[in-house]
Symmetry: C2
Subunit: 410 residues, 2 copies
């Protein structure tokens, strides 16, 4: 029997993968499982997008251009310009979701053994894409206690070696919900220019900024024309994750022409998803206002509710729809499994993503979980009630006074 | 300015890429360009699939399972069983087109520097996928004069080294249209078992077999449970290339669990494409009979027409919708460019794919082109007329008597 590849063995599994069988078992046993573990919003896709699909006026579902339909790219360019990113349709490649845009960026910009600095905790699948490209992610630790703000420039400088070729950020952040300030982006701008690095920014949560805060794209930073690459997606913006339509955007013509060769090899992004994406560009502003209002309400319920639970700490996120929470437990993964296997309250339990999978530094995130507040308000309230009771009953509970010791012993 | 990656520089461009600007210029000048260069059929997508899209009954376009909707995979398993491939839905991963299935297969099974033997000429994008995985393709030359039949076992043995880890075939073949016989597959079975190799078969043209010939899948070969991997796609079968829905199929659980990790990283294949693909499983047999009849008529027009032109040689393909033709020209790429730039007949010209891009062995295919007979009959007849006149006028024409010499001088 032939062996599978080393890369295949090394590919990390999803941080929640191990928990899925326990969740399935819990559901089969009749328990309600409240899913706070995944970023699949329950928000409706805009009607303009759904109608475009239903009114499909084609007899052959043909390939599109490998970079995506030109009309869609022109529409996207207009959308980006309205968001302060002065790009044209030739600086955009439509991709199979944001995932493929990350793959294209990594394959086009970095060589095997190159290093990319990524503030941690970060979206766990970056590990997978890096492994596919043979690239090393160098984590720059951010702290829950500092609300995941970007560390000082010295911390970057400490990590930069002769192999460092890029910095990758997610803004607003998954899993932290952290929104970078203008000053932080200016800091990144300077580091990137000083060391001649690529700056890859995953900006798929651009629309989800709260409390009057404003999103700044790396494509709006001056002098980064050769360095900045944006990864985008319609998945979260229009609640159409299944469309599998994203985009790679850069003003660097060499990045675009190189990524185009990868795009040509896989022929075309999905035609129907693009039709929906193009129609979604006409989504009325009221849609986004309603969605944002809803997320702010959900966030406040969730984050305030978490902080009201004895021993739980959760910084208020400025964007996206995730929050990271520190729990008074010995091991968040064990706790999450225990909640699915051995606990219920009002016949319900909660599934969360243990945070260790979002850290590259071993041992970090052991008492943290990522929570996605993508469910309706009543479900979130029930989830909080369940969690509060679970934390009281959990045999591995650690009192706050003990925590410092426990962290040191890692 | 940061440099792009070595892989990015090395990525091959599409074999027709260089010709596209000339085609665009020809169209702008008012010439009709008959596209025999791409495999985008003009056949209509089955109505059941189009209706499934139009009747979309969802308010949120959600992710599917990373392996694809279970109902779709169960339907696919049933389809494969009807085609002699005894697989279940857990042995199938739905992918972003056949392209992603090839990527998953290569990433899961082969290490950097491993070698895969591929009969040439082969689908040019295999080069791109191999380069992405760091794998080397070792061409095993097949000959137009032998209708691209598989070479004898000795030829395989000559190519096998300690690094050889697999054989990859396309059956029926793109670009040759060659359909492997049962005996040839038996030969492959023996080689694969003897040397403990993976056998990856791109079978996306399964339905397109002519003259009463039957397709044999590598998944129907005995004793290859651990070795055989099938790459599949709905693109050609249902003329819905833009759905971007394919599949990786294997009875080897380690291959599937490894490929699943790559699938999880990119989250999900396209939801709407899968809905169309699942509905398309109910396409009535009459659809395929009509399509096959149409392709046989087109093939006969094209291949007989080509062979009737002085100096042209074209073996009769047994499947798919491509044919390779040898032309009496100095350089097929130059000839194709000349046709777009400097020639027209009845205000029309023809675009073909120069065959060199389908060979890995340097110098081969220099006087060959790939022709896709995916256009309606009258267009094909006009294309033949145009080609006949072009070959008479082309300044680089080489008479058959001179050809042997010209081939030797490569």
């Amino acid at each position: 029997m032939p062996f599978i590849s080393k890369k295949g063995y090394a590919m990390p599994e999803s941080p929640i993968r191990k928990l899925v069988p326990f969740a399935e078992k819990a559901i089969k046993s009749g328990k309600e499982v409240i899913h706070l573990n995944i970023g699949q919003p329950d928000i409706e896709t805009p009607e303009v997008a759904l109608n475009a699909i239903k009114n499909l006026d084609r007899h052959v579902i043909e390939y599109s251009h490998s970079a995506g339909f030109e009309s869609y790219r022109r529409g996207l360019a207009n959308y980006y310009q309205n968001h302060g990113m002065m790009v044209n349709h030739n600086q955009i490649i439509v991709t199979n979701g944001g995932s493929e845009a990350i793959t294209f960026a990594m394959m086009s910009c970095f060589n095997a053994e190159d290093e990319i600095i990524v503030p941690e905790p970060f979206y766990a699948n970056y590990n997978s894409f890096a492994l596919q490209a043979g690239v090393h992610l160098k984590p720059l630790t951010c702290y829950l206690e500092e609300s995941y703000a970007l560390p000082a420039v010295e911390k970057f400088e400490e990590l930069i070696t002769s192999r460092t070729r890029g910095i990758m950020i997610c803004n607003p952040g998954n899993p932290t919900g952290y929104l970078y300030t203008k000053e932080e982006l200016e800091l990144l701008r300077q580091i990137v220019l000083k060391h001649d690095l690529f700056l890859v920014a995953d900006e798929v949560y651009r629309e989800f900024c709260y409390d009057g805060k404003v999103h700044h794209s790396v494509l709006s930073l001056e002098g980064l024309e050769s360095n900045a690459i944006v990864v985008d997606s319609v998945s979260k913006r229009y609640s159409m994750c299944g469309a599998r339509v994203g985009a790679l955007v850069s003003k660097n013509p060499e990045v675009i022409s190189t990524a185009m060769k990868f795009a040509q090899a896989r022929l075309s992004p999905p035609t129907i998803g693009q039709i929906a994406g193009e129609a979604a560009l006409d989504t009325p502003p009221s849609y986004f206002q309603n969605v944002k209002d809803e997320y702010v309400t959900r966030r406040d319920i969730m984050v305030n509710g978490l902080n009201a639970i004895d021993g739980v700490g959760c910084p208020m996120p400025g964007g996206a729809f995730y929050a990271m929470a520190k729990l008074p437990v010995d091991d968040a993964e064990k706790f999450c499994q225990w909640m699915l296997e051995d606990f219920s309250y009002k016949n319900a339990t909660v599934m969360m993503a243990p945070a260790q999978g979002f850290y590259a530094t071993k041992g970090l995130g052991k008492d943290e979980v990522r929570i996605a507040y993508v469910l309706e308000q009543n479900k979130l309230k029930l989830a909080l009630e369940v969690l509060e009771h679970a934390l009281k009953e959990y045999p591995g509970r650690i009192e706050i006074a003990d925590r410092a010791e426990s962290v040191e012993s890692i």
